[in-house]
Subunit: 365 residues, 2 copies
């Protein structure tokens, strides 16, 4: 064998050796161009920007050999059809919030956030070490998707309300722009949940077609101008305490990538994850201050309202688990993990946070 190999090589000569070398290089660093459909408009520079950040990192890490072009919502496909576009290989990948697809299966919600779920760090811990990513990617297989963690908005705000919410009864008949699973929780308490695309919320709230609308947090909400048409800004957005974004990659495209590019894509997505979390935390304080200075009334949801919503959420999860085996499988793993996170987070982190917040409120920071 040894001799035969040698002879074969020698026989091919220098020119042939060139030909042999070239494919080896092409194989390890091929030129690849992908398209990434984002669920978000360019104007939301943080949630949209995370995909751009990831793509720039991938290009820079591969000497521009692996290029991903990001398209804003609506440029290639509507923002809420990113999953379908990835599944059908219309685009190689998409940057989206998996819970947009709860209409297909409520199990998608776990990949982003479910009401009264995990905070930013808890969601990441579950995904990385609690079995979350494995469960979600197993579930994604039916959609030919490979998911990679790529961003989190951190706990969101509860939204903009034209009237104050004083009791659980005030929820009855309230026309509230709120998506997916959270809408189903609130429906149990009489809320009329409305699905309205981002650009249509402002006029609906202005005209009074809806009574309230939730979006993200101070930095994004201020850009959309909701403070001009609703005065009461509630917190927290208990339906998304740490909503995570995914880079959804078409499974066939993922499998075709060289291992090195797979690793670069995963590392660049983790980098974008940090970038987005940090950018929201750095930008939200100023926006919040400006909103309050401009007359926005910042209010916590009353405790009985939170309690009633929590009870309704648990009811919904039990009902959903009873009729959906995929949901149940993830829920059974996720629920004890959530309890463990609270057990730990209450000790060092929460006590530290509470102390620092007390100093802030006492004007001592």
């Amino acid at each position: 064998m040894q001799r035969r190999r040698f002879l074969k090589s020698a026989g091919l000569g220098a020119a042939a050796a060139t030909t042999l070398a070239a494919p080896a290089i092409a194989q390890s660093m091929p030129e690849i161009k992908w398209r990434c459909a984002s669920s978000f408009p360019k104007s939301l520079d943080t949630i949209y920007g995370a995909a751009e950040f990831m793509a720039k990192r991938v290009a820079a890490a591969t000497d521009n050999k692996f290029q991903i072009q990001v398209f804003a919502a609506g440029e290639l496909v509507p923002g809420l059809q990113v999953l379908d576009a990835v599944q059908n290989n219309t685009v190689e990948c998409g940057h989206t919030a998996p819970y947009y697809y709860v209409g297909k299966d409520p199990t998608f919600a776990f990949a982003t956030a479910i009401p009264f779920g995990l905070n930013t760090r808890g969601q990441m811990a579950w995904m990385y070490f609690g079995g979350g990513r494995e469960l979600i990617n197993e579930f994604y297989k039916d959609y030919s998707v490979y998911g990679i963690t790529c961003g989190n908005t951190n706990a969101q705000m509860g939204g903009w309300f034209r009237k104050e919410i004083k009791t659980v009864d005030d929820l009855k008949g309230l026309k509230f722009r709120i998506g997916g699973f959270a809408g189903q929780v609130l429906a149990k308490l009489g809320v009329v949940a409305q699905q309205i695309a981002g650009g249509d919320i402002y006029p609906a709230l202005e005209k009074g077609t809806i009574d309230a609308a939730e979006w993200v947090g101070p930095y994004d909400d201020q850009k959309l101008g909701f403070n001009k048409v609703a005065q009461h800004y509630y917190y927290p957005g208990w339906w998304e305490g740490g909503p995570q974004l995914d880079l959804m990659v078409n499974m066939g495209q993922w499998e075709k990538l060289p291992k090195s590019y797979q690793n670069i894509l995963e590392a660049a997505s983790a980098d974008a994850h940090c970038w987005m979390i940090a950018k929201y935390d750095a930008q939200n304080p100023k926006a919040l201050r400006e909103l309050v200075a401009g007359g926005t009334k910042l209010l916590p949801f009353p405790q009985p309202v939170m309690e009633a919503c929590y009870a309704a959420a648990n009811e919904l999860y039990d009902e959903t688990a009873a009729k959906n085996a995929k949901f149940k499988k993830v829920y059974d793993n996720w629920k004890p993990f959530r309890a463990e996170q609270a057990l730990w987070f209450q000790v060092a982190d929460n006590t530290f946070d509470n102390f620092m917040i007390r100093q802030y409120r006492a004007n001592k920071l």
Copy 2:
């Protein structure tokens, strides 16, 4: 020009083309082997493991062209001399907690944590978008170091105490194993701060040479067995609410890296950052439960003790800023950022966390 280029190519022939192609490839993906000195022992698989995770990602992203071998504390250099080794180019990079070097300059503390500082997310927000990384890397220039964010332990525990701490007076004369800047804060309240290497803490605490010792958190502390020699486990570790690790890279080595490798190293470090944060959050709950089940008494520092320490810390910062211009420059940027983080964190995130913790305590999670 077009014709001339063509002729030149043709004239060189196939063999020469091979020769030309090879250096181009070598330039973009050269074979590089680095050594990374960790400040931590292998047994602490999370804080040590982050550097290993980073190195594996870098190797996988470059088809093993860029290899970083990680050495545990003491294998090449002592754990607390990683900065010196990087500065002297004894190793190309090191994974360490910058606050270990407050003896050289207290400004180092900002890169990890200063007492009553930022939490995990706040520290990341400051580093990424608050000007923190720029300020720290400007400061690092005097040490020929380029710093990259790479890991966080999350809020630490307050440590193991043989006796209960009931009042501020109980701190007087207390022999407490605690490092750097926090030791200086506590010295103002009569604590005798001791610097003892990790491996020597257990016997010192057992013999009563020291009265108390702090380390990291439940997962790591349990491994070192402190619960066997001290009963009272206090929280929070107010001197490190979100202590961050850095990958310190020798500046000359950093500048020699191809741009693609620089990008891969930064992305892999961000990935390791997520990995470490998530791993601690996932592992600490179980360790904490086991410690408490084994008889450990979990106690919060009394509020007056926290307040006294906070006042002492502020005093120390003002004194330090008055005599150290580098410290003052960073402190003046950092202090208002900390206040802004509390302003924002108290609203959506902390209210959400507090609600979930209340449900946990009411046995409803």
